[in-house]
């Protein structure tokens, strides 16, 4: 037990190596590119993107859904697994929650930057009706905004509540990197009991959010008329996909934490293997969704949707559809083998595959459906411009930067929880 605490303390005390600075500089450069591209977008207009009147939404919406999806694993691990008393989650839930927090920030940026008139983004909030303008509550975009804000708030509160005992512990051990309020935490028995009850309360609050947030994101698509979007399977399909990609991201950072800051004894192979099993299960679930979607499309009655799926299976979309099947449905099947499940290299590779595959899935949903529609008004195809991809690179850079700084300045493994478990 002492050993784990020492490991964490030594990890926090260690001087950052060249790798740390390299990652920070690279992510700063990426963030800079993103800032430049965002400023360009706001200054010139979304015309500097590749979108047109047939493809009104482009990779910004793909990125939005992708980031929101990645955020889901955090809540899943911290809330759902807490309620299910899955104790193996203790060393990774802080990591997962931090991922959640920053990925929601990245995700929330995209609906803003894709607007035509950025300065008026606040019209979407139900603010005081002084202008005689009120939001349309029937629009899924409004629900979307509400869902993201609720999710961000609950995640932040949850994250910080769990962080307070650790910050106290660090301060007691003389490691104060950033001064954050502790709200008079003194680690008393009464406080510990209250803390435990409050986290359970927050977990029960956050658990429905795991389902609802991505369901609402999927409803953005599902309530529309567009063939390929208008599908009742979307809410569960999106939630499964979200947790899937989120776990892949957590795996990536868990393995990084093991190797880079020497937490191999804390984040054990058992934990990695358990999460790999979950990835495998989710991959099979996702494949089932793909199959169901295809079968639905070929049921008689919906010609337009069939056209969309014919494009995916044998038309213009095959260059993204079959890679997606390979990355999402076939590669994770390697986790049936125990050696693959326990191999860190394989975990990283397959997690990267899943992340890329899930991005492709959203690309197919957004672009593959819009480019077919009921009819085309012109034959110009959509291809993202440098500016659009630059903004995506910027959010990636921001995310990596924030995660790196979090690794440096915050206890990325919950000492409090681990101690509690050992005490039990």
């Amino acid at each position: 037990m002492k050993k784990i605490e020492e490991q964490i303390i030594s990890a926090m005390r260690a001087k950052p190596g060249a790798g740390f600075y390299a990652v920070v500089i690279i992510s700063l450069i990426l963030t800079g590119i993103g800032v430049y591209c965002s400023v360009q977008t706001i200054y010139a207009g979304v015309g500097c993107w590749g979108i047109n009147n047939q493809h009104n939404w482009g990779v910004s919406i793909v990125n939005f859904v992708w980031w929101i999806g990645i955020g889901h694993a955090g809540t899943f691990i911290s809330a759902v697994l807490l309620l299910l008393r899955q104790n193996w989650r203790a060393p990774v839930f802080r990591l997962a929650e931090t991922i959640t927090l920053f990925s929601i920030l990245c995700a929330a940026f995209f609906p803003f930057i894709h607007l035509g008139r950025h300065a008026l983004f606040f019209y979407i909030f139900p603010y005081f009706n002084t202008r005689g303008i009120w939001v349309s509550f029937s629009s899924p975009l409004f629900w979307d905004m509400a869902a993201i804000l609720v999710y961000l708030t609950v995640s932040l509160v949850f994250w910080y509540t769990e962080l307070i005992p650790d910050l106290y512990w660090l301060r007691r051990n003389g490691i104060v990197r950033i001064r954050l309020p502790l709200f008079r935490w003194h680690n008393t028995i009464g406080q510990k009991m209250l803390h435990s009850r409050f986290t359970f309360f927050l977990a029960s609050l956050a658990t429905p959010l795991v389902i609802s947030v991505h369901s609402i994101v999927s409803i953005d698509f599902a309530v529309s008329n567009v063939p390929g979007w208008n599908s009742t399977i979307f809410p569960p399909f999106f939630v499964a996909g979200a947790v899937f990609s989120g776990f892949a991201m957590v795996q990536l950072f868990a393995v990084t934490a093991r190797s880079s800051i020497g937490l191999a004894d804390v984040i054990t192979v058992h934990i990695i293997e358990t999460m790999n099993k979950l990835l495998l299960a989710l991959s099979i679930l996702i494949s089932l969704c793909y199959l169901t979607e295809i079968i639905f499309a070929f049921l008689p009655g919906n010609e337009a949707e069939r056209v969309v799926f014919v494009q995916r299976l044998s038309g213009s979309q095959i260059y993204s559809f079959y890679p997606m099947i390979l990355l999402n449905s076939i590669m994770p099947l390697l986790f049936w083998f125990k050696r693959v499940r326990q191999s860190m290299v394989c975990t990283v590779i397959i997690s990267l595959c899943v992340l890329a595959g899930m991005w492709l899935e959203r690309w197919i949903i957004v672009n593959g459906s819009l480019s077919v529609g009921y009819f085309r008004i012109h034959s110009v195809n959509y291809f993202p411009s440098f500016i659009e991809m630059g903004i995506f690179a910027g959010t990636l850079g921001f995310f990596i930067l924030m995660m790196t700084l979090a690794f440096r300045f915050l206890p990325m493994v919950s000492i409090y929880e681990i101690n509690k478990q050992h005490a039990n």
């Binding site: 015309g47 009147n53 008139r117 008026l120 019209y123 349309s136 629009s139 008329n225 008004i377």
Partner: protein, 885 residues
Amino acid sequence: MYYLSPLNMNNRRQFIKNLTIGAAAGSLAGCRQTVNRSIPYLIQPEEIVPGESLHYATTYYDGYTYGSVMARVMNGRPVKIDGNSHSSLTLGGSNVRLQASLFGLYQPGRCLYPLVKHVRAGWADFFSQTSSLLKQPDKDIVLFCRKGISPTEDIVMNDFLSRFPNIRKIEYDTVSCKSVSDSHNQVFGRPIQPLPVFNQVNILLTFSGDLLVSSPLPEYITRHYCQNRTQLRHFHFDCCSSLTGNKADKTFCIHPDEERVILANLYNYFAVLNRMPAIECPEHHILSALPLADTGAQNLLVISSSADPEVQRMICRINYLAGAYSKFLKPEYHINLRTAQPAEIVFSDKTLFEQSDIFIFYDCDPVTDSLLDAEEWKKRLADKPVIALVHENNRSSALAGYIAPVQHPYEMWGDAMAVNGFYSFQQPLVVPAGESVHRASVLLSWMDTEQDITDYIQQTWMNLFERTDNFADFIAFRNHILQNGVLELPVLPVALEMKETFYQPVFNRPGGIRINILPSPVTGDKMEINPFLNEIPDPVYGTLEKDIVFSNHQDYTLFKRNGISHHHLYDPNHASDVITGYYASPFHRFCVSSGFRFTSDDMVFSKERRSPDRFIPEISASMLEAQQDYLTVNPSHVHEQQNWIMSVDLHRCTGCGACMIACQIENNIPPVGMTEALKGRLMHWIKIGKVNMADGRRMAIPLLCQQCHQAPCESVCPVAATMHSTDGINQMVYNRCIGARYCNNNCPYHARVFNFYDYASADPLRENDPQWASSLQKTFALMRNADVTVRSKGVMEKCNFCFHRIHKARADARTEGRLFDPTDVNPACAAACPAGAIIFGDRNQNDSKARRLFESENSRFLLAKLNTSPSVAYLCNSFLHYEKD
């Protein structure tokens, strides 16, 4: 306790806090909106009421496009051109080029001041220098001009030529129908181009060329063709696809050389009937496909726009033998348009340039029209003096030493006689730009006469007045013709007698590749710098590229010769061994410079990565469905006053695109520039689509916002920027729009368009460079309709059934104290349609034509199964052929 005081800077934190607050407050206080002041008139002109529009009848003629038009003038600026409903030649219809002609008036390239050797000079300077040039009797002077149709200008020109006998006038036409008048001269001894009428025509055979959009009077032809469409059977013979071919009952794909053979066979058919000697010709199988025997070959009319004199000669004889001249072709109403020598022939004569010493360009652009390079012209002109009378700077004026700015057709007085007996009149709509003068008055100044051009015009009109007897005095006559813009005088009937008894055409089939050049259905005889026309996709093929050729060569290929390549489009309905290109396109210029000599070895078909993009929506016939009653979750809207609907007769629509530009100019829709257009960001609120029918034919369909009663776009807007009005229109509140673009995704018709950039203040001619504030912006702003908002960057927009016109009609009714009559309202697209295909009206009005058509059994709704309950009905007869059972 903190004090927020600038003096309280006793520590570093407080100093930074105060500094930040100060900087923020300072920058906020510095933000100020720019104020554009509008200044009222110092002396209010009597007839101008701000916001009220005046209508003036006038005439537009630029050498290719002619139209008697009714212009709407707002605050002294013409803002909209429509066909003149008083004219029997247009019947209120117009075409793309007439609609877009306003751009010529406002375009920044207008020539404003006289230039002598590229230096601004006064008129006195200009005349003193040019007169001394002209008054050299030993010099041979050539005056180039387009075919003139103005009686007054003809008189001025004749006076001018008799005053200067050393000046030779050379009239030319770009797309010439001279072969028609020449053949009439050969066959009947009269060089005329008769006006066709389609009443009682049973069989119409059209050969090569787009009769409905590229003939000299397209509005007239379209209107009469559509009126009589149900009773005539139309067969079209051409080597390529065309709008006329799309309207025909059956289109035969023939090689251009087959035209002579088919016509010779047809001639023999009638020759046998009339006991005339037949001509020797090879047999052709197509003739048996025509229902000549069923109808007894009665009431047949053959029309071709071919430049081949043999073809035209045979057509004259066929029409004569079929009796068409007494019924369908009126020799007394002969068309004066496009009867001059074709430019290609005029400018192929190099000796003309060698023998002449001075050149005058009389309001024309011979450098562009000749299809030769500017380098070639420089070589030919060899630094000889050139005097150019131009209303806009062009390639010719760039070569001229003396430039006289003349008025645009919308700035000058004048008259025109496009068809014998049909006069139309010109009056200025706006104060002339800069120091420009009437082009004929430049001639008068050179003649040193006391008379002004208005005296000549007065004299011509007096002569016309003497030929009428309906008017009390000349003032009443003048007011009448200026109000109506037209005057139709009776003409003596002419009977044609066939002079030549026998004629043997030559049949040859040269090998190699044939080049088929036809005028573009949109831009006509030139690839002009008109952003409105440039952005109309080709109505036949849907491409936007100017440099494009069509053939039936498969794969995505590029036509290549000597390193020069042109975009190539595969057309399955194209004849083999023929390449079609548009008049004045780079391909045509290339052909002219290489002398039209091609063999198959010259053509290298190489794989291109992609074929040119197409910008017309293609929909399948199954998407047009009869309306069904579905259960609706939402309560349907109640429309107590009006419920606006539109019925579009697909049997009438030719797909010419006049509605697109009419809508664009009426609603201040900015052109986006070619770069943006090729990205698929065209802003047209109404688009011409194509319905692909089961038998392979393609029908034009105007696609606009369907003004759904259960609109998918309304429910998804997060800020309630689009909603249903009380009279059934799906409104768009531009102020509220934040540009999330969900509405356009959810619109199954893709009726909405988005302002991706600040198009309204961008410069489409310079490809929307970052330097957006340009000279064009200033002139474009003058062209805008003051009744319609200009949309900014990041706003979605769409058709609103010309809501401002409805609003205006309501306000007018209120001021005049009468009940509002829904038939007073006509949207811009419906007003512009030459075919009368768009019928707008109120569904609550029991006797309205629109309602009758909307509720008829022929009405179909686009994607009716989605239950959007559209307000636009498409009338089509279950896609039956026109053939009667």
